[in-house]
Each structure stands twice: as C-alpha cells, then as structure tokens.
Amino acid sequence: MVYSFPEEVLEYVFAFLSSDKDRNAVSLVCKSWYEIERWCRRRVFIGNCYAVSPQIMIRRFPEVRAVKIKGKPHFADFNLVPERWGAYVYPWISAMARSYPWLEEIKLKRMVVTDESLELISKSFKNFKVLSLSSCEGFTTDGLSSIAANCRNLRELDLRESEVEDLSGHWLSHFPDNFTSLVSLNMSCLGSEVSFSALERLISRCPNLKTLRLNRAVPVEKLASLLRRAPQLVEFGTGACSTEIRTDIFSNLVEAFSGCKHLESLSGFWDVVPAYLPAMYCVCSRITKLNLSYATVQSPDLVELISQCSNLKCLWVLDYIEDAGLKALSSYCKDLQELRVFPSDPYSAEPNVSLTEQGLVTVSAGCPKLQSVLYFCRQMSNAALIAIARNRPNLLRFRLCIIEPQAPDYLTLEPLDTGFGAIVEHCKELRRLSLSGLLTDRVFEYIGTHAKKLEMLSLAFAGDSDLGLHHVLSGCESLRKLEIRDCPFGDRALLANAAKLETMRSLWMSSCSVSYGACKLLGQKMPNLNVEVIDERGPPDSRPESISVEKLYVYRTVAGPRADKPDFVWTMDEDGALRFS
C-alpha cells in the first residue's frame, strides 16, 4: 500500500506494545499488520496448554523469547484432578528446542515437568535466563542439577509450591564457580538441606541477587551469614526459625537485617519462635509484602510485628491473627491492598481461634485501598458482607471460604444470598469471586445481573437448580473461568448456554448432576470445545446415559481432542461424525 509505513517503522511501533490484548488487536487490522506483528511477538501466554498445540504456536510466532504456559485446572490444587490427568510439558519443550534456539524464559503453572524436560531445557537454549515452575510436579533435584550446571546465563530459578522429588541437596553445588548472573532463587519448596558453604559462595559471587527464598532446612542461626553477603536483597524468605532463642543468634540476626537497606518482602518463618520476630523490626518500615502464612505465632506477637509495617501492601497470615490483630492491621497499615487469612486448623469441628467475620469487616472499613481478599473463617452474616461491600466498592478479588459447607448466616440462619449479592452489586470492577456458605439460586441471579466484569467464579455446595448455573452463564459477560463442585447443576443450563462456553477458557464441574448423555450432546454441538469426561468408575458407555458423570472439564481449543488422555478421561464426540440421528 502506498500510504502505509514501511515495515520497519511498524515493527518499531509494535515493539512498544507489551500487552497480549493490544498485540492481538493489532494483528486483526489487516494481513500485513498480522504478518509484521507475528514476526516481532516475543512473549506468548498460553492459559490452557490444551487449547493450542506447540506446532500452531511456533508456526504463527517464529521469534518468541518468553513463554508462559498453564496446565491443570485450578481445582487440581485441592486434589480434585486425579493423578496422570495430563499437562505434560515435554512436547512443548521438545518443539521449542527445535524452533526457538534463542528462548530465554519458560514459566509454567500446574504442569508435569520431568527431569528429561529440564535437561532438554538446559541444553537447548544458549541464552536461557528464567525458569519458573509454579505448582508443578514430576521432577527431581537431578533435573535441577542439569539447570544449574548448564544454564550459564540463568537469572531466575523459581520453584514455588512445586512437588519436587528431593534426592539430595547436592544440586545447588552444580552452579559453576564462574556463574554470577543469579538474580532470583526460590527454593522454598525443597525438603533437603543444600550444602551451606555452596550456598554462601553462590550468594557471595552473585552481586545482582535480589530475591532469595530459602527452604525450611536452613536454620535460623545461619541466616545472618547469608544476609551479610547479600545486603542488596529486596525479597527474602527465611527457613525454619525454630532453634531455641540465644542472644548471639538474635543479635547477629539484628545486625544482619539492619544491613539490608532494600528489603521489601519477607516470607518463610516456618515454626518461628516468636522471640525472633523483633530481629526484623529494623526493616519493617520498608516492608510492603509479608507472608506469615507459615508462622504459627499468636496474635500479640503478630500485632507487634505488623504494627511496625506502616507501608504494608500485602499480608498473608494464619487465622492466629484473630479479630483483634486484624483491628490492629486496619489501623496501622493504611496502604493495605491484599489480605489473605488462612486457617490454622481447618479440620477441627470447633474454632480454635477468635477469628470471625468481624475481623474482615474491620479491615474493609479501615483500609481504603483493599482490593484483594482471601479469607477463611467459621461464621459469616449477610450484614457483614453488606458492610464489606459498602466499605470497599473497589474490591477486585473476593474469595471467602466459610469452613463448614452450606453454613447459613449465623445470626439469622438465612442463606447468604443477599450478602454476596451486595458484594457484586457494589464492587462493580470485581474480577474474581469465590462463594461459600448456604446459597440458593437467588445469589446467582444477583451475580448474573451485576457481575459484569467477573472473570473467574468458584462455587461449592451452592444453588438449588439449573437456574443458578443459567443465571451465571447467561449474565456474566466477562466470564473466562468457571469452576464448580458439588452443586445441583445439570444438563439444561449447560446445553442452553453451550455457545457461551466458546467465549470462556474453561469450565470445570465435579460432583454435579450433568448426565453422560448431555456431555455427548455438548461435544457434538460444539466442535471447537473439548468436552472431557473424567470418570474413575470405568467407561461412561457402560452405564445408562442418564447417570451423572463424576467430573467434567470443558475448554475451547484449536488443537482438537488431546492425544495424551489417561484411561479415565474421555473426549466426547471424538470421532466427530454421525453418532445418531
């Protein structure tokens, strides 16, 4: 075209576009823009590894430098996805090894990663810099040895919450003596002890190290020595802090922390003896993120620490903090944006701490920037939820887990429909919501009516009928991920809203009332969806069609039915064709 810019200019302009949405929009303008854009896209995010194949990705984007891939559905975190379900990364690594020699970054979440994959990564990408394995499994410390030994330019190694078969701590010693590029190391999920002297030497020779998250095996008396070698650290995670308190350990720790002028984030604190916490007071005023969710420490000690963190933006803590501690939080930490309160004793029948709905109400009132909440508690009321909604219309993420399934409003014994209704009505920007407690179809009517920006919804033991599901699928315009367990939702709502499923990333339904017949029908109607039935009772064909399937996972895809299914997963209508008339 006569009037268009030369390719080089367009490419230069596109380089400023980092968001996938923007790049996707650009590529739809015209064929030449599509071509130019695809050659200069450097970062690809794949939200569902089965939605597209490595070959399709490589064909469209030949010059990628960074890939992020997610595998198993979120409910895999809670053991709802059986083992051997899938999400193997090897095919991706093998394809990229051939086509992306300049690949620098691989970030994976909930995928199965083998030592073979890690070895292939370490040998295929000469400029490899970032490996992040979040909630992954399938590899051992031998795989880590390959990475350490071969990735000469490695900057980040993050293993957060992965299940690693820990053969020994020796892997760390495989970093060569001339390896100095490390910026971030998160080994908090590993069990065994690494050679402490190897760790010290590694830290000493990596001047750009900003993040160091140790594992439990590093005892508190060794921390000072590490901190002294890395005073430039921005993020630090301790190991276990359970050694009996001694004056020399304590004073060393105080001195070491006071040398760290750039610390912003702290984590770890396994089994921490409360007497160690004051060693951190000198850095508290700069701390913006604090993860105390493994610290089994009582409220007064927590409050002492938190009250010094006036710049705190993000707090993860156990319910030992109690309502009293949350009250203190709300008065000292006015910049708080994110709060997660985890249960210390989730399986006991009776509460072990004095944490109620009141704590959350207080924080919602006192912290004007609060936008992200994850809260486990044992009682809730509509009044509290309404108060929270009115206090914080700026909420973006609200996940509430009342521990007893189907617990009603403890004051009125009514369902919590109106409370959650208030949340979606007032919090107009809400993107993520998890419900719990006693809920009827009514709450879904509210959600379908008001939650227009909602992208992810998690449901358990909620609703009365298909109408509930129908409200959600027909009303929530921005919905991308819906995960449901143990709700009486079935065929009608699913089939009536089949087209909606193509606009979403995925739908998970387990222990609901969706029949095998409906699954088959859905698979036939919607060729762009993989409708996967997960059933460990044997082939669904061996039971009447009206029987509910155990689990259903539906997702849009351009890659067709997957070829790596285990023997308890069936793709509906896989052989395409004229099943019936």
Binding site: F75, D77, F78, N79, L80, P82, E83, S135, E161, E163, C189, W270, D271, S293, Y294, T296, F342, P343, S344, D345, P346, Y347, S348, A349, E350, N352, V353, F376, C401, I403, P405, Q406, S434, S458, A460, F461, R485, D486, P488, S511, S513, E536, R537, G538, S542, R543, S546, I547, S548, E550
Partner: protein
C-alpha cells in the same frame, strides 16, 4: 425381619452393571484429612496441609493451649442447643459432602431413613444400604438390632451403594 423389608422397599434396587471402580474420594487423602472428610475441602493446597499437620505435632510438644480436635464429630458433640441432641455424621458413598443428623429426633429406622432420603434428595441413583460404625469401630449394616440398642452403639453412619 420387618425392618429389613422396609429397607428394601424404601431403597429401590436397580440393575446396575457392576463395574470395578475405585472410590475417588479415598484416592488422595493427605496427612491432615480425616477418613470421612470431604475431598478438597476446605480448599487449601497440599503445602498448607503439611504445615497444619506439622503444627499439630508441635502443639503437643510445646503444650499449646489450643486443643485441636482431629477426630470426627462424634456422638453427642456439636450441633444444636438442645442438651440431649445426638448428632452423628452421615456420609453417602460418592457424594462429597457429609451431613449431620440428630438421632435423638428419631425413634425408628423408618423415620431415620425418611430423613436421610430428604437430605440426599439431589442424588439420582437409588439403591443404597445404611451402615453404621459401632463403638468398637466396626462397620455393620443397620436394621438388625432394636432401635434402642442401635442408638447406644452408633458412632457414625454411611450410605453404601448396593454391591459393596
């Protein structure tokens, strides 16, 4: 004898093809989960479960004053304000959520069964047997002994699919 017939009348049997199957609920029990707890509930991941288990051991070492109740809610615990209420947990095979039923409100197997039927009304599949765990920890089929004896012995209830 009469009671046994009531069972058969109430729980219709269907001709199910017997397929070997694993009980998915028992597949992934982690350290912290009770045998009859709901799989994956509360929704905490395995990392948090590990510390909760770890912490129980620590508590006993440190003599922490928080008593933790690892065991299922048993006969006589929990539930209502009535002083002689007798809540026991009821688990239906294949259903994630366990319920609680107050046995003190019942005087016969029939009313108990009616209540259980109403509780699990969303389940399409019929054909269950009622079993109970006695004080010795043994699982037995309910209905053989007089109601009064049953009440004194029962610790928890389970609805088992036919064929088990």
């Amino acid at each position: 004898m009469k009671k046994k017939r009531c069972f058969e009348e109430t729980f219709e049997e269907i001709n199910n093809v017997q397929v070997p199957r694993t009980l998915p609920l028992l597949d992934h029990i982690d350290l912290c989960e009770e045998e009859d707890g709901v799989v994956g509930w509360p929704p905490i991941n395995s990392w948090r479960k590990k510390i909760c288990h770890h912490h129980h051991h620590h508590n006993s070492r440190r003599g922490c004053t928080n008593p933790t109740n690892y065991v299922t809610v048993k006969n006589g615990c929990g539930g209502g304000s009535r002083s002689n209420s007798m809540y026991v947990k009821v688990k239906m095979e294949g259903v994630g959520i366990a319920r609680k039923v107050d046995l003190s409100r019942h005087h016969s197997y029939q009313t108990l069964i009616d209540t259980l039927m109403a509780m699990f009304v969303n389940e399409k599949v019929q054909g269950y047997k009622l079993a109970y765990q006695d004080k010795e920890g043994d699982w037995l089929l309910a209905g053989d002994m007089p109601w009064g004896t049953f009440i004194n012995s029962v610790q928890r209830l389970k609805l088992l699919r036919n064929g088990n």
